[in-house]
């Protein structure tokens, strides 16, 4: 079963995303290895009634193909060597985003999780707790509806909704377009809430400083093992809904241990958007990131 990600129905703030097709990089040619290994056959002794291979105006050489020989139905094909990463287009858009963000001292986070882990609630609570101390904007990714962006806007923070339509993840091009529509302030915070999906967003760099994985305690402790790519790609895991731990059999230590099995360097914060546990640590982590982004700001060369 595939998730059916594709382009074609993406909306940003309700408007269709322009389709893009750009030329690829340099094209290189390769001489078939086979040619060197298959020399032309030496002429057989005359008078044996066998066709002798020779280059003349009336001969056709079938020996220059990839197999170095002719086989019925096999044409003389040519190889084009490109050696490009399948995600190279996304990565080049991500680099553009990252360059822009670093030139403007903007700290960008890509929040990833399964649906229902409490990402939007956590964002709303975080924005309220920051209470305007930090300029921030939010990009919301969902397949359909403007609901999440509306929830963010209710806090007073600017938010733009990207609807991916069929797609199950945000890509760097969508985020780049959204960044252009939002008025990003220098030395600010950009929060990108990805589509709820623990699989696909792991591979798509958006140009963010960090991926932050949110795992709620109402899920399983083995989620990091079941979806290792996401936890490997993330630098921070927020173990959310910790206020519910007394009512569940969820083993928080085991969940953290599992996350560290796939990513020994992952940082973990136990948090609850409802009780406020861990919020201070999380906000301090954000502020430290913002200070660093502003300090290491890479002004463009004039």
């Amino acid at each position: 079963m595939t998730c059916g990600c594709g382009s074609g129905q993406t909306l940003i703030g309700g408007h269709a995303l322009k389709q893009r097709r750009h030329a690829a990089g340099k094209v290189q040619y390769r001489v078939q290895d086979g040619l060197a290994r298959f020399p032309h056959p030496s002429p057989l002794p005359e008078g044996e009634g066998v066709h002798v291979h020779e280059h003349s105006h009336d001969s056709i050489d079938f020996g220059t193909g990839p197999a170095g020989a002719h086989a019925p139905g096999m044409s003389q094909a040519r190889m084009v060597k490109i050696e490009r990463d399948i995600l190279s287009k996304n990565d080049s858009y991500a680099l553009e985003n990252r360059t822009y963000l670093s030139e403007h001292g903007i700290f960008a986070l890509n929040l990833v999780s399964s649906p229902g882990s409490g990402k939007t609630t956590l964002l709303v609570k975080s924005i309220n707790a920051l209470n305007g101390s930090l300029p921030l904007v939010v990009i919301e990714g969902d397949q359909q509806t403007d609901n999440d962006a509306a929830r963010i806007r209710a806090t007073g923070a600017p938010a733009l909704q990207i609807n991916t339509g069929k797609g199950c993840h945000l890509d760097a091009y969508m985020v780049g377009q959204a960044m252009q529509q939002l008025k990003l302030q220098d030395n600010s915070l950009l929060l990108i809430e990805n589509v709820g999906n623990l699989v696909c967003p792991a591979s798509f760099d958006l140009g963010e400083a960090h991926k932050v994985a949110i795992l709620s305690v109402t899920e399983g402790e083995d989620k990091p093992l079941k979806y290792p790519d996401m936890f490997r790609a993330s630098d921070l895991m927020l173990l959310n809904k910790c206020d519910l731990l007394p009512y569940l059999t969820f083993d928080a230590n085991l969940a953290i241990e599992n996350a560290r099995r796939v990513n020994p360097n992952i940082q973990v914060i136990r948090i609850s958007a409802t009780s406020g546990e861990g919020m201070e640590e999380w906000l301090e982590w954000i502020k430290a990131g913002c200070r660093k982004a502003a300090r290491t700001r890479n002004e463009p060369n004039p």
């Binding site: 990600c5 594709g6 030329a23 690829a24 040519r78 084009v80 099995r261």
Partner: protein, 113 residues
């Protein structure tokens, strides 16, 4: 994962390069897919057939070169094979492994007519 997006990425890279080259038909495409790249090959083939229809690569064959997962075990201080991201080091059992190979997803080359 997102095999449809990957298939579209492959076709875009190949079509652009093939067009720049002036050829009319792509017959075989060689991909290098790492063991740890989390790509479902059969799903990729299915999506590839769907997105190549009517294009320059319609009916093209996909050849997959699988590259093995590899890592550097910090405890053993040596290269070890990695079959899955959640597996421990096969030598010492440690999880402190830095993946060094097997996550590639590349279009290597393709054959044109």
């Amino acid at each position: 994962m997102h095999e449809m997006s990957l298939a579209e990425g492959i076709v875009q890279l190949v079509e652009d390069a093939a067009r720049a080259d002036g050829c009319s038909k792509v017959k075989v495409i060689w991909l290098e897919i790492g063991q740890l790249a989390a790509v479902e090959i059969e799903a990729l083939r299915f999506c590839f057939d769907a997105v190549t229809r009517d294009g320059i690569a319609a009916g093209a064959r996909l050849e997959i070169i699988a590259t093995p997962g590899q890592g550097w075990c910090m405890k053993c201080e040596g290269n070890v094979p990695v079959t899955a991201l959640y597996e421990p080091c096969p030598v010492c059992g440690s999880y402190q492994i830095q993946v060094t190979g097997g996550s590639e997803m590349r279009v290597k080359e393709f054959e044109v007519e």
